[in-house]
């Protein structure tokens, strides 16, 4: 397919978007590492694999139908099937951008993948892997693609003027409130509330968070679809906002316990990235810093409060993504500035309507994500057991789900497949 005459592909935009797509793809294994460090050692691989699973199922479903449901015009609620099975996705530019639709498709696919992986944080250490595969595949279409259509693909929120730069609605609130529903349906881990279930490797957590932040420069910086002002502004805001969240998180840790914690720091970096996600290309760098500082408070409060409940939303996806995404979407309604974004002002600059549309997104996004996930998991639960047995959880999900261990020594391991070798085993020559 060649580009129709008159519609320009920009080399610069395309080059940056290719790089940004690869950056966002890295966020999924980074998330796997972050999550793996937060669980017990016997569940390391299973937890990591839940993110890797999204690379498989979410990508394939995105190509089959998800992209079309998100980005084909369709109606206000859901897109059409015009791009199903990759139909019409070629070198011609995606409308509204100067990049080939092929690149646009791949960039958006990486968003679907990492969001699908995010939800798994709610059900680690007990959800059966086969049930997770079915859930991830269907969630990426029935929840993510729908919310992406609302916010990015010309759906009703975008059409009415809700601002969401890089996915406060589909990615952050979508994953956060789905995680809450998933934790409620799947239920708590066997030992939750009875024993201390502690993170086994905080270095993984810090490195995972660092790699996520790195990838987020592609996530937010690429959501302007080029090298113009929105992408540049979003890029720098992705540096400033999380730094402020980190600093405020340090202060909150000090006030609460007189010590600054490493897991707190890793969490804060992610919360900061989430906060700026919806607002990245729409607010001034100064307001991005204010958002990072103020936005730390609600997420910190939810993280302190949640473990005191019976809800085993294990890795606090609701606090880090749902709550921070909601804070960012609303804050944007106050401080959006046309002099920076060229589109719309927020309440502080005289446009109260903007805050109204942001508030509507902050209600509708979570409501759909929570309800749809609840129903979806209940339906899957009829067909498949969602939970591993207490015995399997006790042995560890790595051994029972995958037949592997993260920290295997090899002592006492007896080779089984030697009989495959024909004749005598060759002896190494000195």
């Amino acid at each position: 397919m060649s580009a129709p005459a008159g519609v320009m592909i920009s080399g610069a935009d395309t080059a940056w978007m290719l790089a940004a797509t690869a950056l966002v793809l890295l966020m999924t294994p980074a998330l796997g590492l972050f999550y793996a460090g937060l669980v017990r050692g016997k569940n390391t691989l299973n937890t990591f694999m839940m993110s890797i699973a999204a690379l498989a199922v979410a990508t394939v479903l995105w190509a089959l139908v998800g992209y079309s449901l998100a980005f084909d015009p369709g109606n206000g609620f859901i897109g059409g099937l015009g791009h199903a099975l990759l139909k019409g996705i070629g070198f011609a530019p995606r409308h509204g951008t100067h990049i080939p639709q092929l690149v646009f498709f791949a960039f958006q696919a990486t968003f679907c993948i990492v969001t699908t992986a995010l939800v798994s944080g709610a059900v680690v250490e007990r959800m059966r892997f086969s049930a997770l595969l079915v859930f991830s595949a269907s969630w990426s279409v029935l929840v993510y693609a729908v919310l992406a259509h609302w916010a990015f693909g010309g759906g009703w929120l975008q059409a009415h003027g809700t601002l969401d730069f890089a996915g406060g609605v589909p990615v952050e609130m979508g994953s956060g409130f789905s995680a809450l529903a998933a934790a409620l349906v799947v239920g708590a881990r066997k030992d939750y509330g009875r024993q201390a279930l502690l993170p086994h490797n905080t270095v993984y957590v810090l490195l995972g968070a660092g790699l996520l932040w790195f990838g987020w420069f592609g996530f937010n910086g690429g959501s302007g679809f080029g090298v113009g002002r929105p992408g540049v502004l979003a890029f720098t805001n992705t540096l400033l906002c999380p730094a402020c969240t980190l600093l405020v998180w340090f202060a909150l840790d000090l006030l609460r316990d007189r010590r600054i914690t490493a897991i707190g720091a890793a969490t804060a970096a992610i919360v900061g990235c989430v906060l700026i996600t919806p607002a990245a290309g729409y607010v001034s760098p100064g307001w991005a810093m204010a958002l990072g500082a103020l936005g730390a408070l609600p997420s910190y409060a939810v993280i302190v409060w949640r473990p005191r409940t019976r809800v085993d939303e294990t890795l606090d996806v609701l606090a880090a993504h749902g709550t921070a995404g909601l804070t960012g979407i609303l804050f944007l309604g106050f401080v959006a500035q046309r002099s920076w974004n060229g589109i719309s002002n927020g309440l502080l600059y005289g446009n109260a309507h903007q805050l109204g549309w942001q508030a509507l997104a902050a209600l509708a996004g979570p409501a759909y994500a929570f309800t749809a996930t609840l129903v979806l998991l209940r339906v899957i639960g009829f067909a498949l057991p969602l939970r591993a047995s207490a015995h399997e959880q006790a042995l560890g999900m790595d051994v029972t789900q995958h037949g592997e261990e993260a920290y295997v020594t090899g002592e006492g391991a007896i080779l089984v497949s030697t009989e495959v070798l024909e004749g005598p085993v060759p002896v190494a020559q000195p």
């Binding site: 015995h391 006790a394 002592e411 391991a413 089984v416």
Partner: protein, 117 residues
């Protein structure tokens, strides 16, 4: 005076600790060990290599107790460590010749009786 050594499942350690606490057995050591006791081997695959894991992770409790505490200790270890499946572990009781509390130099029964603090 006896040394009670118990080999239990790692996932039952918290239950054993709780049972020992309820039985007022307050002094013990524990260590991670690997062993084999007739349970089914786990088969694991790493790329093309399939292996039978002959050794299982276990946790060893060592409790030095005075003679009239032996049965309570055994009962607590059994209650906390049992699942009913093969692989729950063993308890060994061995006579203990001497015991010394390093801090005070107390010996034998005095050394294995926890302080009422």
């Amino acid at each position: 005076m006896k040394l009670v050594t118990a080999i239990v499942r790692p996932e039952k350690v918290n239950d054993v600790l709780e049972a020992l606490y309820r039985a007022e057995v307050r002094g013990f050591s524990l260590s991670r060990v690997q062993g084999h006791g007739g349970e089914l081997d786990r088969v694991e695959t790493y790329r093309g290599t399939t292996v039978k894991m002959g050794l299982s992770e276990k946790v060893r409790f060592e409790v030095a107790v005075s003679d009239d505490f032996v049965q309570r200790t055994i009962d607590a270890l059994c209650a906390g460590g049992r699942t009913g499946e093969v692989g729950d572990g063993k308890i060994f009781v061995t006579p203990l010749e001497r015991a010394v509390r390093i801090r005070t130099g107390e010996t034998d029964e005095g050394a294995v009786t926890p302080l009422q603090a």
